[in-house]
């Protein structure tokens, strides 16, 4: 879905989001209150410039609009795969973006991620996945890597991965798998404006994704293992 249609459905109260080189920024009215919006569009790879632009927009929001909620609109094919990005330390640019989101959360800004089209790996890990909560539209695709590339690196035949991807949440790219694993808090269908209002009200400070993954049956080991380490007990089978 194109970002204009998403924005129109999310913000019936109006918005002033603009696009520059696939970078989205602006503000919108949600339930009569202003929300800062940043994001990317057109499946753009996240290179060092656009990571920094997003970080700057978040820092500006923290400085100029204390407490204002932030919505991150995610559409990316992943981190940019170029020598120059690696040379200049794209991991540092990504980490900087993630740290800015983290600071904003701790300073009282609720941060919501919304995957409205594609989310891949490195482009997603320091945006939607570090927000207070992350949601997706039903037709979104979320994955770490395409199955052909994954087959090459893991040396597992692609047919096997394709078979597994049908019903195994670990390999399948659909949002319902991320939902089952707790990586997404919900999938928004229908009334996007109402869903956003609810999400802003429901967001919690702590990271509850392991417990969600356990409760939803998509990630059974993470929560018991982390708890066992934390309290020094044996792992109880889920």
């Amino acid at each position: 879905m194109d970002w204009q249609s998403v924005a129109a459905q999310l913000f019936p109260g109006g918005h002033d989001i603009t696009e520059a080189d696939n970078f989205l920024s602006g503000s919108a009215q949600v339930d009569g209150k202003p929300v800062a919006v940043i994001g990317t569009t057109d499946h753009t790879p996240i290179g060092i410039e656009i990571a920094l632009a997003q970080a700057q927009a978040i820092l500006r929001t923290v400085r100029e609009h204390p407490g204002r909620p932030i919505l991150i609109l995610v559409d990316t094919q992943g981190q940019r795969l170029r020598h120059r990005d690696e040379m200049l330390g794209i991991n540092s640019y990504m980490a900087h973006l993630g740290k800015c989101v983290d600071l904003a959360r701790r300073e009282g800004h609720t941060v919501i991620g919304l995957v409205y089209d594609q989310a891949l790996s490195g482009g997603f890990i320091t945006s939607g996945l570090i927000a207070s909560a992350c949601y997706a539209l039903p037709e979104a695709t979320i994955r770490v890597m395409g199955l052909p590339a994954m087959a090459r690196i893991t040396k597992v035949p692609e047919e096997r991965l394709t078979e597994l991807a049908k019903d195994n949440p670990v390999f399948a790219p659909g949002p319902e798998n991320y939902l089952r694993m707790g990586g997404l808090h919900g999938i928004w269908d229908g009334d996007l404006a109402g869903e956003l209002i609810r999400a802003l009200a429901d967001a919690r400070a702590e990271d509850g994704r392991m417990a969600l993954g356990l409760a939803r049956g998509g990630r059974l080991m993470a929560h018991p293992v982390a708890q066992a380490v934390r309290v020094g007990s044996d792992v109880r089978p889920a």
Partner: protein, 302 residues
């Protein structure tokens, strides 16, 4: 001198922590293994590739972890990530003096794809929770597999990144970039180029690692002790000023390197004399020069 790079994770822990002090949480005897590898006929490891626990470090209670590069390249799966998160949470519960992470990882374990990706993001958030609790987090990067992917990002969520000269820190591996965009984009077999692009000296000059030492276990231990001591009381959490300074450093880097594609030209731009000699410089000579020219985060105009 004894090489840190050549040690396994289980050898690094006792070599770094005070002798005999480290207690491992969820040790291999409990046989907690990945639930995803069997269906791919991949071997499991009884520690899922990471040692986590608590020990004494310079006499203080410090929590720590070591990733094992010899098991799936140190990559993060569901159990591996959860062990790190649990240790980080416990460090907060028990008010640790610091956390030291001995990182060696290719990032997300592709065999556990989606679960690994979520796990790495949980590790990042847990590291920042530790910092927010006022506990310094130190990342040590000196393993043969380097520190890549999501863990390359996580490393930069620490207060201090310590690298050995042989350490490598980046995001996408050279092979991934070559596969995606061709050998003319990044020749992954050009070891010198790979090192100039991702290696310790380069990262130190750019300002992405704060301490650079030789590949010597005792030197890395001493550097980690100093790094913890150098963080002032209240200095562990993220701050707006700190992130504005980092923003300024990263913006300056973009401006100063426009049109450059060779790390030696980046070093020249920083003012390093005779950049072609940098790879050969002895550690002391390099550090003397580098400390005059390396980039650091400073608060710009506000």
């Amino acid at each position: 001198m004894s090489s840190y790079q050549e040690l396994t994770a289980r050898q690094r822990i006792p070599a770094m922590f005070d002798a005999g002090s480290f207690e491992e949480f969820l040790p291999p005897s409990m046989r907690i293994v990945s639930p995803h590898l069997a269906q791919l006929d991949a071997a499991v490891s009884f520690d899922d590739g990471v040692v986590v626990g608590r020990g004494k470090f310079g006499g203080r209670v410090v929590f720590g972890a070591a990733q094992e590069g010899g098991f799936m390249g140190g990559a993060v799966g569901e159990v591996h990530g959860a062990k790190l998160v649990g240790m980080l949470q416990r460090a907060i519960d028990e008010r640790a003096h610091a956390v030291v992470l001995l990182l060696e990882s290719g990032g997300v374990r592709l065999h556990e794809a989606n679960a690994g990706l979520i796990a790495v993001s949980e590790v990042m958030r847990a590291m920042l929770d530790v910092r927010a609790a006022g506990i310094p987090v130190i990342a040590v990067v000196g393993g043969a597999n380097g520190c890549f992917g999501g863990m390359g990002i996580a490393a930069r969520c620490a207060n201090t990144v310590i690298m050995s000269e042989e350490g490598r820190l980046a995001m996408s591996g050279p092979e991934v970039i070559e596969t995606a965009n061709g050998v003319e984009e990044f020749d992954s077999r050009d070891r010198a180029l790979v090192w100039r692009t991702t290696g310790g000296k380069h990262r130190y000059l750019l300002g992405d690692c704060q301490v650079l030492v030789e590949d010597d276990t005792e030197a890395l231990r001493a550097a980690a002790l100093d790094a913890i001591a150098d963080i002032p009381p209240g200095g562990a959490p993220l701050t707006l000023d700190g992130l504005l300074a980092e923003q300024a450093m990263l913006e300056r880097r973009l401006q100063d390197t426009q049109g450059l594609s060779e790390p030696m030209d980046v070093w020249k731009g920083l003012g390093m004399p005779d950049p072609a000699r940098v790879p050969m410089l002895e550690p002391d000579e390099f550090l003397t020069l580098a400390t005059q020219h390396r980039a650091t985060p400073t608060l710009g105009e506000r």
